[in-house]
Assembly symmetry: C2
Homo-oligomer: 159 residues x 2
C-alpha cells in the first residue's frame, strides 16, 4: 500500500544545511521564518490567526535513508528510531509546534523554526493543549539529557 501526498506549501527558514541546525523549536538557535501556502489553499487558513501556536507537519526532504536504531544528537548511546525525533525515519515526516506571529493572505510568519529552508509542507493544525499536551508524563532516555535540549545543535550524522 502506498500513500501519496502533495505539498500544500513550503517552509522558509535561515537553515540551508543539515549541520549546525537547531534540533527542535525550543533550541536557542531556532529562528523566525515563513510558511507559504499555495495560494489556492489560502481559504483554509480562516480563523487560524486566533491560535498562538500551530503544528507544522512536513516532509523531511533531505532524509534519504534510515536506520532502525540511531544515536540521537542528545545522547551517546543507540535508541530505536521511534524513541527519538531523529530526522531519518522510515517515513520521513517532521512535526514542529511553533508560535504563529501573523498571517498575510497565504503567508504565515512564525518563530522558532527548526527546519531546513525549502521544506515541503504537508499539513497545518491548530495547537490545542487539551488534545496535544497530556498532564502527566515520563520522558524515558531523554530524562537524563533534558539539560542539553536547548543548547544542542545538529551535526552531520543524519546528513
Amino acid at each position: 500500500m502506498e500513500i501519496a501526498y502533495s505539498p500544500i506549501g513550503t517552509i522558509y527558514s535561515p537553515f540551508h544545511k543539515l549541520t549546525s541546525m537547531p534540533i527542535q523549536p525550543l533550541s536557542e538557535s531556532s529562528a523566525p521564518g515563513t510558511v507559504v501556502l499555495l495560494p489556492e489553499f489560502a481559504p483554509g487558513l480562516k480563523d487560524l490567526q486566533g491560535f498562538s501556536h500551530i503544528i507544522l507537519i512536513y516532509h523531511l526532504h533531505q532524509s534519504h535513508s534510515y536506520a532502525l536504531t540511531v544515536t540521537p544528537f542528545l545522547d551517546s548511546v543507540q535508541h530505536g528510531v521511534f524513541a527519538t525525533r531523529a530526522p531519518r525515519r522510515p517515513n520521513p515526516i517532521g512535526l514542529s509546534v511553533v508560535p504563529l506571529i501573523r498571517i498575510d493572505d497565504n503567508i504565515m510568519y512564525v518563530d522558532k523554526l527548526d527546519v531546513l529552508d525549502g521544506t515541503p509542507l504537508l499539513d497545518i493544525k491548530p495547537y490545542v493543549p487539551e488534545f496535544d499536551s497530556p498532564p502527566n508524563f515520563r520522558l524515558g532516555w531523554l530524562e537524563g539529557v533534558k539539560a542539553k535540549l536547548r543548547t544542542t545543535n545538529s551535526d552531520d550524522r543524519f546528513g
Copy 2:
C-alpha cells in the same frame, strides 16, 4: 511533486464507523487499543517503553475528499480547515498523543485512541513536552467551545 509513504503498521481500535467516534484522545469515549508495527520495524521501538506518551501519525484512510472551510464537530460556524482538526484535509494526516501502556515485541498497547479500526500508521514519535507543549497559548475559536471538548462525539459530516 508527489511524496510517497508506506504504512509501517496498523492501529486497531473499537471504532468501526466514522459516526459516534471520539473526536480527540481526551474524549470520554476514547478507548484502549493496539498499535501493531510491521515486524521488521520492531527494533525501532527500542527504549520507547520509557515514555509515558507517544505521538501517532497516521493516514486518515476513510477521508476521501476535503473542503477548505468546514463546520467542525465543536462549533456551528465555518472555519478554515487548517484552523480545525477535522479529518477531511488536503493531505489526510492524523495526529494523536496517546498514553503508552506497554510494548510486547512489535505491539504497543495504548489508551485513549480516537481513530478508526484499521488505520494505517505512518510514524511514531516520543512525546516530549519540551518540544511539543509551549507554555503560553491562545486557542482562537476553540476558546468558546472548550467545555464541549470531552463530551462531543463525531457525526456523519465528514463521512
